[in-house]
Symmetry: C2
Subunit: 212 residues, 2 copies
Amino acid sequence: MPSDVIGAGPPARSAYHHGDLRAHLVAAVSDLVETHGPDGFSVAEAARRAGVSSAAPYKHFRDRAEILRAVAMTAMDQLRADMVAGAAAHPEGSAESVAGIGMSYIRFARTRPGVFRLTFSLTEGHDEAPELLERGQDCLATVAQAVARCMGLPPDAPAAQARAYMLWCFVHGHAFLTIDRKIEASPAAAGIDDWAMLTAVVAGLLRLKPPG
Amino acid sequence: MPSDVIGAGPPARSAYHHGDLRAHLVAAVSDLVETHGPDGFSVAEAARRAGVSSAAPYKHFRDRAEILRAVAMTAMDQLRADMVAGAAAHPEGSAESVAGIGMSYIRFARTRPGVFRLTFSLTEGHDEAPELLERGQDCLATVAQAVARCMGLPPDAPAAQARAYMLWCFVHGHAFLTIDRKIEASPAAAGIDDWAMLTAVVAGLLRLKPPG
DNA sequence: CCTTTAAAGTTAGAGTTGCTAACATATGTC
DNA sequence: GACATATGTTAGCAACTCTAACTTTAAAGG
């Protein structure tokens, strides 16, 4: 998905200097993580794919972990964009717009499961990547905003925040369970499609009494 | 946690033969995954901890991935045991017993986040580890059974199965979000503790109309 | 009880990787 | 046009995965 952006610009200025190695590396690693799993990726292989020596990546990234962080960051940005688009596909303030965000989230997870997992399970440099946390919070804020509009509350109302978080637990869990395939809905219940389940849960949660 | 079992038996028969290297390795790797992350573990380091040469592990496991699969398998077993215990701590058929299972799940994830993540995100040899999938389904069956009893339905009733799966999406998502810390409940909603949230969601889901 | 066989260790080594150091070559600025 | 800098290169070390060939111990059969 990021690969189509790569050849667009006018880089590749010379045979020696690559032009836009950093972006190429991020795209290559994103691909590798997707196909070979998060630990099946190597800096050397990514460099090979980009057509540079195995030492070149270290001019752009301090170490292996920093590349992964960059991949996670661009993925989180894309995820948020998808979520916003998913909300915009339905009338503002409707329950469907909330469910639409969830559908985008689930679709992202299924399309790029390796990167999705990486994005969330990356913990090695939490303190060194506060931006990643910020972007995650932005995702939740997107949900909270839609929920608040749907309930006719101000965006920072605790009731809306709590509902948004609970809802996101559900969506996040469903996304992970379907890509990890350790726990699957029973065949008897498999007929339920995502959209039906999502709208039912959204409806149920919005009229739920606040806990505590 | 598995380490206390290690010294119990009467192995360690000689200085040359280790006695129970396989179990020791699984325990060591479990520890390493927890402290150094899933990719920060090496077979060599595990062997060093067990006091054997770096080639010894390959007498018990085909490759690195097979060790990880063994770790995931024992973890899944432990998780299931915890869940059953969590249900048994409350009256049979009560909503609390369902919530109790969820609490055990969340507690497991927080106590051993690295292993928990590994257990679910392990995808490298799905076809080679059907037992892992079976054990995952057993976990869901535990939930479904409690839900069915709570609703006064037979254990295989589709309505109970669907409820159990939806509930588990929520619990699984909450468990992951709290250990991954990319998306956190807002400070305004942070006062809600796990138990209150769980019981509220259980109550809400059980009286939810089936989707579709 | 002694022999044999297989299980479970060992050392040695080939091939890959992460990362650093020292060097080479473009790019852009004064 | 000279120079500083960004961005490549090659060479190489230490660590890791996994294999091959050998050694030691445990267990089984006669």
